[in-house]
């Protein structure tokens, strides 16, 4: 604390107190209350109703589908994120800034557009629609469409975490490994990967949270076929629109718990390995 804080005159103290109260009050009403309302509304008709609406067949199918989509899309984006970070942080080449802009692009595009582009590509009237139809392959209103839209939405997360970190770390250790005779993959697994592991985990965490929680993009490509193409957020929407509020909030609690778990691990990683995650662009996720 600075000297200024030691003995503030009383008007200043009151001012500070009011400002603090205002901020804490805002955070409580604006962030805590929506979180609380999810759990209270879900348990409105008791624990039994809550559990039985989570145990329903469609809810379980939605949970399975959400996990499936995340299990496919997150690893693919991890591979891409590591490759893109290696490229962006270790080499200079023409068009690098443009490539960086395209990596960031999915963050600033409306989720609806992320779904729309795949409908225009693979939908019945899309570029590949007739060909896909002739070969009886379904992408839109089916699981592949959900996976593609999710990959698009979560594409930047891992790369965004790794690029600034690897840039600030520099390549001295990797060059040393090479000079000492390490092969490319040896260098990668023994030097690069250990240096970025916590940032990688951090990126995977955020990527996964978004992949499981994405709504807009998957909503456009899903077709809302119960039990087949509804992920958990879509199941929340459908139940809500059918006035099954307890059911909607029950599924929502699972997603809220996922969000809280993500925040807890994220905060833990920041406290414990802050320096090794470091340098991630403010507000970049």
């Amino acid at each position: 604390m600075s000297r200024l804080d030691r003995q503030p005159p009383w008007p200043r103290r009151i001012g500070r107190g009011l400002l603090g109260l205002l901020a804490v009050g805002f955070l409580s009403v604006f962030l805590l209350l929506p979180l609380a309302v999810v759990f209270v509304e879900a348990l409105r008709q008791g624990v039994h109703a809550y559990l039985s609406s989570i145990g329903q067949h469609e809810a379980l199918a939605a949970i399975r589908l959400t996990l499936l989509v995340a299990v496919i899309s997150v690893p693919l984006n991890v591979l891409f994120g590591v490759a893109a970070a290696w490229l962006m942080a270790r080499f200079e080449f023409r068009g690098k800034a443009l490539l960086g802009a395209f990596i960031d692009l999915p963050f600033s595009v409306s989720p609806v557009i992320s779904g729309l582009v795949y409908v225009l590509l693979f939908g019945a009237q899309g570029w590949f629609g007739p060909w896909l139809g002739a070969h009886d392959i379904k992408i839109i209103f089916a699981v592949p469409g959900l996976v593609l839209a999710t990959i698009f939405i979560t594409l930047p997360f891992v790369a965004r975490e790794l690029i600034p970190l690897m840039q600030s770390q520099g390549s001295d250790e990797e060059e040393a490994a090479r000079v000492l005779g390490a092969g490319g993959w040896q260098m990668f697994f023994r030097v690069t990967l250990p240096n970025i592991r916590w940032a990688l985990l951090y990126g995977v965490l955020l990527c996964n949270a978004r992949a499981m929680g994405e709504f807009g993009a998957v909503s456009v490509v899903s077709g809302h076929i119960r039990g087949l193409t509804t992920t958990m957020p879509l199941e929340v929407e459908m139940r809500y629109n059918e006035y099954d509020y307890v059911g909607a909030f029950a599924v929502a609690t699972l997603l809220a718990l996922l969000a809280l778990l993500t925040l807890a691990i994220k905060t833990l990683l920041e406290w414990r390995y802050g320096d090794e995650i470091a340098a991630h662009a403010p507000g970049g996720h």
């Binding site: 600075s2 000297r3 200024l4 200043r12 500070r16 400002l19 901020a23 804490v24 604006f30 962030l31 209350l33 929506p34 979180l35 309302v37 999810v38 591979l79 891409f80 490759a83 490229l87 270790r90 080499f91 802009a101 395209f102 600033s108 595009v109 409306s110 989720p111 609806v112 557009i113 729309l116 582009v117 795949y118 409908v119 225009l120 009237q125 990959i151 698009f152 594409l155 990797e174 000079v179 990668f188 499981m212 929680g213 994405e214 709504f215 807009g216 909503s219 456009v220 957020p233 929340v236 929407e237 509020y245 997603l255 969000a259 925040l263 807890a264 994220k266 905060t267 403010p282 507000g283």
Partner: protein, 274 residues
């Protein structure tokens, strides 16, 4: 250029380009192609329709207003979190990221449950004639919610690195507390605050999930542009959806360029402070 000692340039370049090409560029090309299909006349007709105009106005003006509100509250919260020590501070600090982590559909139904006319907060507001849910204020509220972390997280590191000696100098020279804030602290924060503002704005313009539940989606009144795209798709008006999508996409591009300019500006500004 010296010979590259590090391996994997070809592999990572090839992989990244292929992946980006298939996942991002090819679909965007399909969007541009489909959008161009309706021609200039069709585009003008689409953009000139009152319903489209109202939706675009709500998405952009609403996002603008939400970003202004976020700049104010974000500055307040960032200030208190950086400068004050109070029990639970770290918890509140972690909580700031909640809108990033909470799926938008969950945020949407939770906000609706709070602000609907019979909701937790809505029932106290309705007697005063204040309607939030199912009206434009609800749209803006949801936009404030999703954009909130951007301003706080952008400001925090800059606030933490501010040199307090300057403030003390100002006060010892007789400046009041408010004068110090507006004349000494705020000018330094302007580029960062604008960056956070633009990030929140970009997020809010395209926001869909958290808005559609609370908005009520009344055409001409509380219908946002992304929802209009979805509705056009459901009516099989693919060209219309693509054209409207293209307009939104171009707006996002413009914001993206603005944000990177602002980030460079605030980066240079931070250098100058040292």
């Amino acid at each position: 250029m010296r010979r590259r000692i590090l391996p994997g340039f070809g592999l990572s370049l090839g992989y990244a380009l292929t992946y980006l090409g298939l996942i991002v560029l090819l679909p965007l090309a399909a969007l541009a192609w489909k959008a161009s299909g309706i021609g200039i006349g069709g585009m003008l007709h689409l953009l000139g329709s009152p319903r489209t105009l109202a939706a675009l106005r709500l998405s952009f003006a609403g996002a603008m207003l939400a970003a202004v509100i976020n700049a104010g509250f974000g500055l307040l919260v960032a200030w208190v979190l950086v400068r004050y020590r109070f029990p639970g501070r770290r918890l509140f600090d972690a909580l700031v990221d909640l809108p990033f982590a909470l799926p938008t559909a969950v945020a949407g139904i939770a906000l609706t449950a709070l602000y609907a006319p019979n909701g937790w907060l809505g029932r106290w507001l309705t007697p005063w004639g204040i309607q939030i849910a199912y009206a434009p204020p609800g749209v803006i509220l949801a936009m404030v919610f999703v954009g909130f972390p951007f301003v706080v997280r952008t400001l925090q590191p800059v606030l933490a690195s501010l040199d307090r000696d300057v403030e003390e100098a100002a006060e010892s020279l007789g400046a009041s507390h408010l004068q110090t804030f507006f004349r000494v602290i705020l000018p330094v924060l302007v580029p960062t605050l604008l960056t956070g503002f633009a990030l929140a704005l970009a997020r809010a313009v395209g926001e869909y999930g958290s808005v559609i539940f609370i908005a009520g989606n009344i055409p001409m009144r509380s219908e946002i542009a992304p929802l209009l795209i979805v509705e056009k798709l459901e009516e099989f008006d693919y060209a219309g959806a693509a054209a409207l999508g293209m307009v939104m996409l171009l707006a996002s591009f413009a914001l993206l360029i603005l944000i990177s300019r602002l980030q460079r500006w605030s980066g240079r500004w931070a250098e100058l402070q040292r």
